[in-house]
Symmetry: C3
Amino acid sequence: MALALGVRFPARALLRPWSLLRDTTLGRSEPAADGGRGGGDGARLFGSQRVLVEPDAASGVAVMKFRNPPVNSLSLELLTELVISLDKLENDKTFRGVILTSDCPRVFSAGLDLTEMCGRNPAHYAEYWKAVQELWLRTYLSSLVLVAAINGACPAGGCIIALACDCRVLADNPKYHIGLNETLLGITAPFWFKDAYVNTIGHRASEQALQLGYLFPPSEALQVGLVDQVVPEDQVLSTALSEMARWLAVPDHARQLTKNMMRKATADRLLRQRDADIQNFVSFICRDSIQKSLQVYLEKLRQRKG
Amino acid sequence: MALALGVRFPARALLRPWSLLRDTTLGRSEPAADGGRGGGDGARLFGSQRVLVEPDAASGVAVMKFRNPPVNSLSLELLTELVISLDKLENDKTFRGVILTSDCPRVFSAGLDLTEMCGRNPAHYAEYWKAVQELWLRTYLSSLVLVAAINGACPAGGCIIALACDCRVLADNPKYHIGLNETLLGITAPFWFKDAYVNTIGHRASEQALQLGYLFPPSEALQVGLVDQVVPEDQVLSTALSEMARWLAVPDHARQLTKNMMRKATADRLLRQRDADIQNFVSFICRDSIQKSLQVYLEKLRQRKG
Amino acid sequence: MALALGVRFPARALLRPWSLLRDTTLGRSEPAADGGRGGGDGARLFGSQRVLVEPDAASGVAVMKFRNPPVNSLSLELLTELVISLDKLENDKTFRGVILTSDCPRVFSAGLDLTEMCGRNPAHYAEYWKAVQELWLRTYLSSLVLVAAINGACPAGGCIIALACDCRVLADNPKYHIGLNETLLGITAPFWFKDAYVNTIGHRASEQALQLGYLFPPSEALQVGLVDQVVPEDQVLSTALSEMARWLAVPDHARQLTKNMMRKATADRLLRQRDADIQNFVSFICRDSIQKSLQVYLEKLRQRKG
């Protein structure tokens, strides 16, 4: 949905994502910008080029910020770096929860990167879709508590990241819509986007919103249960931290088993047909009609920016 | 639930429904009565004896009116003619959406025709039930956008037609109740009525309403999500047309694939056991106790009318 | 969750529960304490040591009161006696409905009896868990109308009994919380508790409440659909009776078939893996870490009481 062009990784690297960021990972040592959370001991920045991680060892919570300007489109790099950053935190016993938020103004994430889906070859589409699946599976089943601090617009793939979290806090800005609007681009959400939607807002609301490609303004998102809280924009992070505290009050083991019980069947549906889902995506996106409409859409975006 | 007696078609004709209406189809040429929608070019009436179709080629929308007085009971003829009319519109590229409404005052449809279920032979019951299934499958999976303009009472089978639509607009009249009230007649809704209910209002509300045979007044129907809008009676059709415009703003192909993704599993459940469902219905309805209670009920209705 | 210590029955007796209460069943003849319901003809008390049954033959409704002070913890005896009392009413054609309520002040039921789950041997844990399953299966699929008159706190196992009913009326007392709070004790609700929760309040609310071990105060319980009515404490029983009247207005046979249609799939999930579920429970509860945390918790409770 955005124009995040850039270097691509070879397909096989995705299977060994830990090998990818050897050079791009920035080991920073500055204190976190967010002095409000106390700075001090645990507060140091790390992460990668497109994912900024602000860990707070004292609380066991890290804030993970998407930084893929201008609109955090989910390029292959961003997807890969998100998975790596999440892996890192999951393997570090210090951390029990992660807040996902955006470092770009006014956009949480604009969703899938259309430039990854247009004018490439089938192998690239397959690689890209596998990375989309991977991010979803990792976040949806994460053993960590994930809270989405949604500080900007949150359509399509952005919404899927939010849906994978345990809890969603949305800034009360009428421009910050959230939802799965794929149909309006002439494409369809895959079945597992649908499953995540149904699990969150129910069958009927999903049926209607998915077909209409509806983007919910904050008040409606709250009402339909797509987000758990809507708060003034400057309170999104603090509210997300309060929510996090509620989730961290629960013993990890019992919470993780319960999370798995609630989500495993849905994740398994994708795991059972992961390759078929990739093939579906590739053959769909390779259609002339789809490529043409994506090109037209991208051209419009380029002109708007130019 | 009503007394719509009439000629019956042979069972095999149902398998080739296009052969049925050769003589009864009225090719009318009067302009549509609904001058508000502009009349003009595309506005001509067609349809059959019991289904009045007002097509508007310009908008790609047809209004389909049930006309089986006094209460649009779903006789075998009406079911058959509805399927044929829908088929006709689906096969005509001019049309993208259909509004389903009633031509009879105060009743959308009173539901299944009890005279089809009482005092006949098993073969007739089987034929009738197959026609009920067929209408549901065709409407539930229709590639067209279907909007129900519910301008009257909408119990049982009437509610099932409404549930098969993509969107439901109900007139705000306290007498226009909607719901699946089968249990109050001592019969049970089949599993696929239940599935459609659960998909629309959720498991708990369905469990309660189905067991109680509850008919929702408009405000409660809106609250539980059984209908999408409740509007003054004289705005039902115009609101349905506005809703239709929202659905037609979405590219057909993406919308149809999404609709199918949402509904296929539910329809497949019936398709997989369609014959068994017919046998269940026939053996249930053939029971002496059921036949007796239907006769008593019909007799009451006849006396009330007489 | 409570300290209801007492004599235990041998494991094999659970398989023939009718043999258990030969000596403990009290055949009482006093009129029901609840004079408001008229006393008179049908009103005599029967039941067992821990289950008080007040039958009203005229209305076909019995009130079943849990009497396992101080907090109606679901000891093996209470579970067994509940199943027996329910059996008795189901096999007596006089009765069509049962109201479940508490005879202990301020607590509907505190849930599973932790003393049954701590410091015993695996055979005992297996026996206990089978009894928990049995009560749930019997209540969830009961052919009778079951209405929960929740006149006190209703956590964990107490909530499961309420969820198995057809309808739930909760006293409007801010201390009477209801929900599945297992995670807060470091244990997890089994999948069929989860299924019952999802069927009642939906997937998302269950996901959140189950992980957080959230106990809903009355107003929130009503809003999320966990209970059907919240009324002043002194109107709980009368409201439950009014609700019962609505359910009894429906022909039994049609209602029972419909109830079965709504609930059979969920019950079958447990029935298919009942033994595995017992084994899961036993191996989980036998873990050193779980036994230790239960001991700590029980010790705290004992000190609080001492």
